[in-house]
Assembly symmetry: C2
Homo-oligomer: 210 residues x 2
């Protein structure tokens, strides 16, 4: 398969979620403009994304939802699934656990890590919490490939180095501190304050021009 654009990958994940929803409601086929409406985008964009993954709908009948879901799964997921670690079992870490567990995703939260003795060895939403010192062992034992960092800002770079050393292949960083990782580790960073400030900026802007 040719290289998928970044944004297309993101949208495919989103499409899949709405599509699963549709399936759950007994819907079998869907038009590009229906998908588009569910995601504030244009039908062209949807058709283009679907074209890029090589799926083809039926003229005037739209896309077979199950087939499309399956195909997106083939693209995004691995056959065996991947195991995920959450670093930092604070509010955000726990939010992610409740949020991700029980989704039919191929991503399984295999372990949590913290330094707080009160949290270590407890189970949160079905996820065992280990001390951060056990990171390397646990990552290997549980075959964890992805880590989500939700710790306070200070320690971020040190933690990311531990993760890389432990053999993690992808990191999702929710702390406000950007980190550096070697090329072979995929890094995605997201900063909630930035998102909020962005909203604030555009609210301000709209107030001025309206």
């Amino acid at each position: 398969m040719k290289k998928l654009p970044d944004k297309t990958v993101e949208r495919l994940s989103q499409y899949r979620r709405s599509l699963l929803n549709c399936l759950a409601n007994g819907k079998k086929h869907i038009f590009s403009h229906e998908i588009a409406n569910l995601h504030h985008i244009t039908p062209v964009q949807v058709r283009r994304d679907i074209m890029l993954i090589g799926y083809t709908g039926t003229l005037r009948k739209g896309y077979d939802i199950q087939e499309l879901v399956d195909l997106i799964g083939e693209i995004i997921d691995t056959d065996e699934g991947q195991n995920v670690a959450i670093i930092g079992i604070g509010n955000l870490g726990r939010a992610l656990i409740t949020y991700l567990q029980g989704k039919r995703s191929k991503l399984r939260i295999a372990a949590g890590f913290d330094i707080n003795k009160d949290k270590v060895d407890r189970v949160y939403g079905g996820v065992q919490c280990y001390h951060i010192d056990q990171l390397e062992d646990t990552v290997q034992k549980e075959n964890i490939t992805i880590a989500i960092i939700t710790t306070p800002a200070d320690e971020t770079q040190k933690i990311s180095e531990m993760l890389v050393k432990a053999g993690i292949r992808g990191i999702l960083n929710y702390t406000p501190t950007a980190i550096n990782v070697p090329d072979h580790v995929y890094l995605e960073e997201y900063d909630m304050i930035t998102s909020l400030e962005k909203v604030a900026f555009f609210v301000k802007k709209n107030s001025l021009t309206v």
Copy 2:
């Protein structure tokens, strides 16, 4: 000021945070390549962003950090600041409260909302939790312009309609359900599962090609 690109706005918010950090460490000036290193981007990008907001550094001395911080503030913030509501005081809502409170930002979390009787009328991290029925009153009383939705997925659209009706001007939606709002309301959506699946996709891809 001419229109700032979306991405520039995001980066300015991020620059400001690292710059404040630098200030706290007693640093007074900074070069474009230093900012770039802190954010995994190129010095050109930094210079371009700074050019776009009309600030000018000193040749061979870099940018005056305090001046730059102040200018970014003028652009992003309003003089009086803006008030923010958090809808849904679950783990994510509480994470946001701890995360945002006490930052020197001009964004103040003025109220939380929930439907759970146990949470209503309690105070979380200094933020009063109201019943969702009190939304409209409280938004007006507290002059709230921005809302962050952290409720479970099902109710999202209904909540967004309540928010719009209450006069909210910007929404940051953390639920996995996309919502529709009128044009005068700025909407930013972020979906944690999508981010995670994106990481998973690229980890998979790297494993194949390496």
